[in-house]
Symmetry: C2
Subunit: 623 residues, 2 copies
């Protein structure tokens, strides 16, 4: 197959490629928008891939032996959908629903379609996610499937692409093949490197990859490149294909002003004449051989670590301990970290289960992308770094939500309470960032036993689940028998005399408890709620507290004032009829520097002392 060809084979490749071009034009013209020319440049590349190399069972997208085809250049979705039609997976009628309200065929691919692994359209994400799938294939599934990633030339400027190159080499991912559709023209003109495919090759080789330069419209060269890539061992391959944007239609070829633009009906008719269309042929795709998933250890009962009330422990430490317990119980649990595993305590898992731990070094985009790739292969990934550094991967987290990925992110060293290291290391916006992810769950424990239970809950919870942990050792206030769940809260102090409610979480919960004692000694009784499930929040408990405790609420958080605990609490009350309670929010008010945790909590205005003052002001008013 690889190095021979017959006349009829070339004819078949041509037939398929031309059909893909025809359909890419037709569906975008029907939609009135979209990217036909970005599709046409890669039609020859995809024709040969689909006909001779891709192993995919369209009737069973969950077949573990399937190859994975990721369109990192998601705007070439018309090409992808045209391939689905050519494979017989969708009808021509459905193809013509592209970009219409309610259609599965969105402007950029999403897993609303069962053959799409992950949403793309934010450039530079397909390859790093491909690295994640390739890690699962090579080291966990141990199946010979390939991950084919179609790349655009513009997206090669994204740093995340080079994180993927770095990791592809490090993990020797010879099951990963990038196909660079170098059509020279970006959205607004020539790309940075234009048709300088040698420059792309130099970069890929500089990162240790096998690089193959070809004419992306020469079937022989395409075919040989795939054959060579599929046989390459020990390193990933990048095929760099020099292509022509709009290839196949004279007035579109290499023409400016045609990015992201559909043809009108007249232009379509003209194009059809040039393409001599074959519109409805089905081209069967080879199914993969029936390989067996690598045998896994059996599942066991989960034995959570327990923490003694006599000793404090940092929640980050409890996270690490629990991750090991989860690893023992469930062979699908995998972990990765951004070269700070001795701080996040993911290193405990790395030591216990080295074959299920994937170091991602200081590359947070790749860290999240690897987790998303693991999710594609139904692993249960936990990815950790300093909470502040997840900001580096926010676009990947946002897109993971569109991808319907199930990933667990754990950010340590939250807030000013980290102390001396200073503001660059302090997460003060992570709650806002993570709350504003569709369908996300946001947890923030204050205690090791609570952390253990919530970490276990994360493994069972779908979607984007985030947990914030604390650097400092804090008191153990819960017993290992206490129960904690997503959507729950804990009322720590409650009486009929409550004049107000303090809602705290994580490090500030301990400040709230100190404030409670002092207030109590001064004759002021308050309710104290640990709102450890920041999203979703325990509405019932908050509503009851407002009703029973003077309709006065104080929130306190180690976070900027915007988008965190306080606003989450207000959100609960805004969904109810009637006036909202009196709500006062304490949050970090100025840019912190270095100092001890206590000094910084005090300066930020979120210490026990500030809580006490704020409660006094709150209950004095209206008296």
């Amino acid at each position: 197959m690889a190095t021979t060809k017959t006349e009829s084979q070339v004819q078949q490749w041509t037939n398929l490629a031309q059909q893909l071009r025809v359909d890419s034009i037709r569906c975008t013209t029907a939609a009135g928008s979209g990217h036909p020319t970005s599709s046409m440049s890669a039609a020859d590349l995809m024709s040969v891939l689909m006909m001779n190399y891709l192993k995919y069972d369209f009737s069973n997208p969950q077949n573990p032996n399937n190859d994975h085809l990721i369109f990192s250049k998601g705007h070439a979705s018309p090409l992808l959908y045209s391939m689905y039609k050519a494979a017989g997976a969708i009808t021509d009628e459905e193809l013509m629903t592209l970009r219409k309200f309610g259609s599965r065929l969105q402007g950029h691919p999403t897993p609303v379609l069962p053959w799409v692994d992950v949403a793309t359209g934010s450039l530079g994400q397909g390859l790093p996610i491909g690295v994640g799938v390739a890690l699962a294939g090579k080291y966990l599934d141990k199946l010979p499937y390939h991950i084919w990633v179609l790349l655009g030339d513009s997206e090669m400027a994204e740093g995340s692409i080079w994180e993927a190159f770095d990791h592809g080499l490090h993990y020797k991912l010879d099951n990963l093949i990038g196909i660079l559709d170098c059509n020279r023209l970006g959205q607004r003109g020539e790309t940075e490197l234009g048709w300088n495919i040698d420059a792309y090759a130099a970069r890929a080789k500089g990162f240790g990859w096998n690089a193959i330069e070809i004419d992306g419209h020469n079937y022989d060269e395409i075919n040989n490149a795939y054959a060579q890539a599929a046989q390459t061992q020990g390193v990933p391959t990048l095929i760099i294909a020099k292509t022509i944007k709009g290839k196949g239609v004279s007035f579109l070829e290499n023409a400016s002003g045609w990015h992201g633009k559909s043809l009108n009906k007249d232009q379509e008719a003209q194009a059809m004449k040039e393409l001599n269309p074959v519109r409805s042929q089905t081209f069967p795709v080879q199914k993969p051989a029936a390989g067996q998933l690598s045998p896994k250890a059996p599942k066991k009962a989960l034995a959570l670590p327990k923490y003694d009330a006599k000793n404090g422990a940092a929640t980050r430490k409890a996270y690490g301990d629990t991750l090991v317990a989860l690893g023992a119980a469930n062979p699908d649990v995998v972990a990765m970290d951004g070269e700070v595993s001795n701080s996040t305590h993911a290193d405990e898992f790395a030591k216990a289960y080295p074959d299920r731990y994937f170091e991602q070094y200081i590359a947070e985009q790749q860290l999240v992308a690897a987790a998303v790739g693991m999710s594609v292969r139904h692993k249960i990934p936990f990815a950790s770094t300093f909470a502040a550094f997840f900001t580096r991967a926010y676009d990947f987290i946002r897109m993971a939500s569109v991808s319907q990925a199930n990933i667990r992110l754990v950010g340590s060293h939250a807030g000013v309470s980290i102390g001396q290291d200073g503001p660059s290391q302090m997460a003060l916006e992570d709650l806002a960032m993570m709350r504003a992810v569709y369908g996300s769950t946001v947890l923030y424990p204050c205690d090791p036993n609570q952390t253990a239970q919530l970490t276990a809950a994360m493994a069972e919870h779908d979607g984007i689940v985030y947990m914030r942990t604390t650097r400092e050792k804090t008191p153990t206030i819960y017993s290992s028998d206490d129960q904690f769940a997503v959507g729950g809260s804990k009322v720590l102090h409650q009486s009929e005399k409550d004049q107000a409610t303090i809602v705290a979480v994580g490090i500030t919960l301990h400040e709230a408890l100190k404030a409670y004692d002092q207030l109590q000694s001064e004759g002021i009784t308050v309710r104290v709620i640990d709102a450890y499930s920041v999203k979703p929040m325990d509405e019932e408990t908050l509503l009851a507290a407002a009703q029973e405790a003077g309709n006065k609420i104080l929130t306190v958080e180690d976070h900027w004032p915007e988008g965190g605990l306080g606003e989450a609490v207000m959100e609960v009350f805004s969904q109810r009829d009637g006036l909202m309670p009196e709500i006062v929010k304490l949050a970090v008010q100025g840019m912190p520097g270095s100092g001890t945790p206590d000094e910084l909590l005090e300066e930020a205005g979120i210490s026990a002392h500030h809580i006490m003052q704020a409660v006094k002001a709150l209950v004095k008013h209206n008296q």
Copy 2:
């Protein structure tokens, strides 16, 4: 200087390097934390740089001719501060305040110190910001200063580093010199590439840089490398120095377990014996030659574009028009974009002022970093891309705030109202993300005349200023005489009969106006507020509205429910005594797909129709 050396020169380099080591140990021991060993590996590199190559007027950090020294490996701050002491800029007494509460010498460098350009500590940021400073130096200031960036080996895994490599080559930044302190050991063990300095060189060369491999403790090699780098024309240089972590003290050299760890008093005493310390010598740094900044066009009066009420216009278009007007008025205004300038309309500026426009291609981290670098050199940078893609640069935006940078970010294509392109292109978390940046300003106009005024206001406003623009053409509802300012709002409908207030912004303001008309026709009168300044918000107008219009407020936004307009409005009321108003929030409720803007606004629950229903429910209640 470059290629000769005398015995006494080597002795001087040694003296300075040993003093830097001694002081790096002393100040971290005094602090009880910090990174002495990461400082010691680079002490020889910095000694030669400081003594023979760095041109810096410590008495005048704002001298435009000064070189820029950026510690991308910010955790080596003890070394940087020890250099300041050696240069006579700070006293030994101040050095010993490292990491203490109130000290300027924080755990990682910040511009609280006048000689620090930008905050570092989130790895991988120093080099891309250095690219921004280098762009300013080569193309705007046209001064021969150099940008020296000290890099750690761990951070070479960050994709942002390779965005900087890409742009350094593209813009031929021969004034930019990276110094890679390859000490092999990261936080938790060996780095990905260890001492394989050839691998780093291959990557740098793959990206077209001049790469020089040296022994980082051989003064001759260090000196020759700097000399060669300073003379290199047309491309940037990376000096790859093989170094030993903890160099100079036997029990620290190349030893595991010493990352981010200070010595105790006994260990310090032992180290001092080995280093034969010279503790208080001052080593003068050469001042730069007195070059003149490139002459600029004179400032002119600003002539804002004006939009006719008869025609609608997209706010993104008004942004582009206004940017050109700002460019005409103020020669310090510069612009950059992430290869979507024909969508954001930054291309208008690029055409009008090509010498002040810097294309950053699809590399959003570099986009923001370039703006930060421009801010270091007192330019007025406007950086634009799709609002959704600023999520890619959130860590850079967060750190820009710590850096006290003055940058303007403009994100287009916000919300579901973009239509067919689908969720990957829709910013639905940008308001939350940008609100949660310390000292940020967040603007969201609904009209071209308003956009013009707010864009002009951005140029005058310090800090991180963000504007969200809309893809779709919207009606022009304001005249060019209307006034808009940061912190303002506009009441569009107001009467004594107001039963509730609708607070809307951007695209939903137009939906609110439609709803107003329909409600009015049904006998329900409401106040309508355009809260275009999302942060800071016009508290006075909101408080008055609550008081005068039934204490009932409806907010509506094209954004996820978390962290956006609705929560910003609640924030205003939470700062007041007494119960909060009844607040109902409309925001995007489900994951959108493709569709027309109207279909998607309706599906998201934020159309005029939904606003009307929500207002009716709000005013019916309590009647």
